[in-house]
Subunit: 142 residues, 2 copies
DNA sequence: ACATAATATAGAGTTAGCTTTAAGTCCGAT
DNA sequence: ATCGGACTTAAAGCTAACTCTATATTATGT
C-alpha cells in the first residue's frame, strides 16, 4: 500500500530525479514521507502521475499542470476553472491531431515520390516542381 | 520572383530572427544574397521552409532536418536514406496520433466528471476513486 | 536629401524540462 | 558490521530552439 521512489519511477517510466523535480515544482503535493524521510508513493499519487503524464504529453507545460493542482487544492470554488481547463486541453489535442493529419498527407506524398525515385535510381526535378506548385497554391489560395 | 526576409517571415509565420537562425544551422543552404548582402528568398526556399515546418511540427529536431538536407545535397546516392527517413517519420506521426487519442479519452472522462461536479457544486471523491481503480487496472492489466 | 524602416552580423540571454554532481544518510543482505 | 544500492538535499549544468541586443549598413518614401 505504498511504493518507494524507485518502484514508482519504474512503474511510471520516469527517473527518480524527475519525480523529485516534479515534487519540488509542486506537482506532487500529496506524497508522504516515512519516519526516516523516504518518500512513500500511494496509489493516489500514481493516479496524479498518470494525469501529469496525460497533460504533459498533450503539450501542457508543467506550470499549467501545477495550476490545475493548485485549483484542486483550493477546492470546490475552482470546479469551473478546472472544467474549462480540460475543455481547452481537449480542443488543443483535437487541433493537434488535425495538424498531424495534414502533415501526414505531405509526408505520404514525399514517400510516394521517393519510392518512385529509388526505383528509378534518380531524383526527378519535375516532381519537385509539381509539388512546389501545389504548395504555392495552398499558401496563396486561401 | 524573390522575397525579402521580412516578407518571407510573414508568409511562413516565423520571425526574421528564426530564419537567420535556420540559415546559420544549415537548414536553408539555397538562400541567395543580392549585391548588397540582403537575403533573397525564392519560391523554392519557401518550399524548403514548408517542409521544415512539417517535419518540425511532427516532432523532428532541427538536427534531423539538417541531416535530410545534407542528404539531399549529397544527391542520388542518398535516395534510400531519405525515403527511410520519411517512412520513419510517418510511423512516428501515426503513433503520436494514437497516443493523443488515448489521452483524449482520459480528458473526455475528466470533462464528464467535472461537468457533473460543476452541476452539483461539489467534487465527489467516489468518482475519483472509481477513475483511480480504472487507472490501476490499466497499469497492471497488461 | 533625409528620415525611418528594414536588413546585416556577432554574440549574449532566455525558457522549459530535465540531468548530473556533490556530499552525504539509510537499509537489506552476507 | 559492513558493503552495495537506494535514498536525501541543494545546486550547478545541459540541450533545444529560439530571442534579444548592439552596432552598422541598406532601402524606401516625400
Amino acid at each position: 500500500m505504498g511504493y518507494s521512489i524507485g518502484q514508482t519511477a519504474k512503474m511510471m517510466n520516469v527517473t527518480t530525479h524527475t519525480l523529485r523535480y516534479y515534487e519540488k515544482e509542486g506537482l506532487l503535493p500529496f506524497v508522504r514521507k516515512n519516519a526516516s524521510g523516504l518518500r512513500v508513493f500511494s496509489d493516489n499519487d500514481l493516479g496524479w502521475l498518470a494525469m501529469i503524464e496525460c497533460l504533459k504529453e498533450t503539450g501542457m507545460p508543467l506550470k499549467g499542470i501545477k495550476q490545475y493542482i493548485d485549483w484542486y487544492i483550493e477546492g470546490d470554488a475552482t470546479l469551473q476553472q478546472r472544467l474549462d481547463m480540460f475543455k481547452a486541453q481537449k480542443q488543443k489535442v483535437e487541433e493537434q491531431i488535425a495538424l498531424y493529419r495534414k502533415h501526414l498527407d505531405k509526408i505520404n506524398y514525399k514517400i510516394n515520390m521517393y519510392t518512385e525515385a529509388v526505383k528509378r535510381g534518380s531524383w526527378d526535378k519535375m516532381m519537385e516542381e509539381k509539388l512546389l506548385a501545389e504548395e504555392k497554391k495552398k499558401r496563396f489560395g486561401k
